[in-house]
């Protein structure tokens, strides 16, 4: 708990070079986590899937 908000951390490890790692991880998790945050704060998702 940080202030009145909550810090949620996900660790996702995989093998691979830097830029490909970024592509692999930044595609899915940001959408999922952004939607989770929106759902909790506004009752609706930010990114329709």
């Amino acid at each position: 708990v940080a202030g009145k908000a909550v810090k949620l951390t996900i660790h996702h490890e995989l093998e691979g070079e830097g830029t490909r790692f970024v592509e692999a991880v930044s595609g899915g998790w940001p959408k999922i986590m952004s939607n989770l945050k929106s759902l909790l704060e506004t009752g609706d998702v930010a990114f329709a899937v």
Binding site: G16, S34, A46, F47
Partner: protein, 191 residues
Amino acid sequence: MVDVTKFKPNTVYVTYIDAPPEKVWQALIDPAFTRQYFFGFAIDVEPRAGGAFSLLAPDGSTHVSGEVLQWSPPRRLCVTWRVAGMKDFGELPECLVSYDVVQAGGSVQLTMMESHSWEVPEAILQGGQSGWPKILASLKSLLETGKPLSIATGMPEGFVEAVKKAGRREAVAEGLDQGVYSETPPGISAF
């Protein structure tokens, strides 16, 4: 002009915001917005490449100063970033901070990249990796709910000590070729 090819992204943050690109852009460059989600700092930016950029603390002092490298509303902003508000930061090399705003379906993908031209000690990277998620999560909340997050501030443990130590080493290395970059994967934050 800064040679941007010497900079590699160390910290990348990607988030999706339910707002139009123009609104996200405004939140990035309007002090009335940044004061609410960026630890109370007010952005002051000249709307052109080559213009001056700064972040002003609530007391009016300059916390970060730099130069606009790319100004492409509402798609991309890239600035040089030199921390001026902490005594020990003045001796460290400046970094680059960029924002990319991309339409993604009905929402916007916002990507922040913090790029460095030298092998930055992990404890210093931790400063950005603890700060950016707070800042950008609060920006997302502000745009979607009208209210920023209430988040405790403060630098991670060992941060100031690492800056002091690196500042001394950089002073010694000044003038030497520093074209060596770490191949370690960038830190990923995604919320």
